[in-house]
Amino acid sequence: MFETNITLQQFLDGIQDTLYMVGMSLLVGTIIGAILGIILVVTQRGGIIPVPILYAVLNPIINLIRSVPFIILIVAIMPFTRQLVGTAIGTTAAIVPLIIYITPFIARLVENSLLEVGSGIIEAAESMGATPLQIIRYFLLPEAFGSLILSLTTATISLIGATAMAGAVGGGGIGDIAIIYGYQRYDNFAMISTVIILVIFVQVIQSTGNKLARLIRRS
């Protein structure tokens, strides 16, 4: 049962690839997603810089991208990926659809976190004569910080799931090992160990996120 064709080095490479894909797409996705999320919150009707038209355009676009399943997204944007990074195959190429997948998701999560900040806080900020940018910086973001950390934890875990599918474009990573060796070559050891590694990943990320959020929220 524990006969396997897979080497330790392959595992380590897989872990490294997964971390690389998750890290890069999380970084870029968070930056763009957070900006989009903030725009969604402040531009909607009753927001601190209401631009209902911008909201009306941005909102359905985000919904549209989010409704495309990741595996289809990978294939659908291959020409765009090739243009951008020179190839549509490999770990770096997989980052492009990962970013496009995770950015609207993060935007939505950030929007929800920021909307949790009570209208009273915003009112207090406005009564102090804070500019819209000051409201975002000194009131919205700090008050939502704990919730934002939890949102990013959720996004990270989604990304780990998505990287497994990146195997479809030769993305590499832990998920790729599970599919190629575990599934296609009936290598049970590879299958079980990749699952264990993924479970550990998710557990560590979730509990770290929870701990951080609790620390920030001081409850």
């Binding site: 009570g118 009273g120 806080i121 009112e123 207090a124 406005e126 009564s127 102090m128 004569g129 804070a130 500019t131 000051q134 000194y138 009131f139 700090p142 008050e143 910080f145 704990g146 920030i216 929220r217 001081r218 409850s219």
Partner: protein, 341 residues
């Protein structure tokens, strides 16, 4: 200091319009503690938010410290807002920041120096009695302490006006008293004009010098607190006044008087520090008038008392006129009332 001129506010809902304020006229002088009282939905929250333009009027002018708010640029308006502090029913403190940081916020927004901020915040925390809580977080404080932080924060930028939006409504009576004392000190020490809204007449009684009563988007009565408490005209005002001052005869006494066949009473009212006007004592002693005090009530308002007596006059009619004239001359308000159960 604050002037509202013929203010109308209409909220457009999907299919209906809500007329929240209907022609409000109000003038608040420098140094006033002006109270606006009304039941929920009367429009008082909207009214207080007009003063710092958190709400814009549909029609009418808001003039603060001589400036027409409608004519100000966004930037100028923010500057004006810095001269108007505001405290809230639910405090609206930043849960993620320490008490120090909360109080410092208006100064941070104005980009003051670290040293100046530290000095000012320490001074304010000392003033509100929370010097030892500087490094605590809001969720470690009681409601009353949170409101003290709110007050310190509102004072940070040296405002000329303080707006209080139901500032004591979430607090117990004892805490309410201590917050009201603090507001009074704010008014006296810094000369800050205070506009407060409340649904508790006792709040008005304890600290306000002027009051306006609101109902369904209109001011139905306004004047000095002594005037309004002594002579409420409108039914709603009477209801509010009744919650703290017994200006009307209690039902049981009315019943007893009717049983005795007494219908006509003299209602005396006087503002002062004595429980009984010296003139009345003198009349009883020198003119030998015979009276029965059927009911009396004395309420502390601001630094004086509002005393009300219901007397039954037992003497001859000839003396009656003289007594009334004499009392009126000495500043006692007299009214003939019928018990009429």
């Amino acid at each position: 200091m604050i002037e509202l001129q013929d203010i109308h506010k209409v909220y457009e809902k999907k299919k209906s319009e809500v007329h929240a304020l209907k022609g409000i006229n109000l003038k608040i002088d420098k140094g006033d503690i002006f109270g606006v009282i009304g039941y929920s939905g009367a429009g008082k929250s909207t009214l207080v938010r007009l003063v710092n333009y958190l709400e814009r009027p549909t029609k009418g002018d808001v003039i603060v410290d001589g400036k027409y708010l409608a004519k100000q640029s966004a930037k100028a308006l923010r500057q004006i807002k810095k001269e108007i502090g505001m405290i809230f029913q639910h405090f609206n403190l930043l849960e993620s920041k320490t008490i120090f940081q909360n109080v410092a916020m208006p100064l941070i927004l104005s980009k003051r120096s670290k040293q100046e901020i530290k000095q000012r915040v320490t001074e304010l925390l000392d003033f509100v009695g929370l010097k030892d809580k500087a490094s605590h977080y809001p969720n470690e404080l009681s409601g009353g302490q949170k409101q003290r932080v709110g007050i310190a924060r509102a004072l940070a930028s040296n405002p000329k006006i303080l707006l209080c939006d139901e500032a004591t409504s979430a607090l117990d009576p004892q805490t309410t008293q201590s917050i009201l004392d603090l507001l009074k000190r704010v008014n006296e020490k810094y000369g800050i004009t205070i506009l407060l809204i409340t649904h508790e007449m006792s709040v008005i009684q304890k600290i306000c010098n002027k009051v306006a009563v609101m109902e369904q988007g209109e001011i139905i009565e306004q004047g000095s607190v002594l005037e309004v408490f002594g002579h409420p005209k409108h039914k709603t005002t009477k209801n509010f006044v009744q919650t703290v001052v017994k200006t009307e005869l209690p039902e049981k006494i009315k019943q007893r008087l009717t049983d005795k066949g007494i219908d006509r009473l003299l209602k005396l009212e006087m503002v002062g520090t004595e429980a009984m006007p010296p003139i009345l004592v003198q009349l009883i002693r020198d003119d030998q008038i015979q009276i029965t005090i059927e009911f009396m009530d004395m309420t502390e308002i601001q630094d004086t008392n509002l005393a009300i007596w219901y007397l039954h006059f037992d003497g001859e009619e000839s003396k009656r006129e003289k007594v009334i004239a004499n009392l009126e001359q000495h500043g006692v308000r007299i009214e003939e009332v019928s018990v009429g159960v």
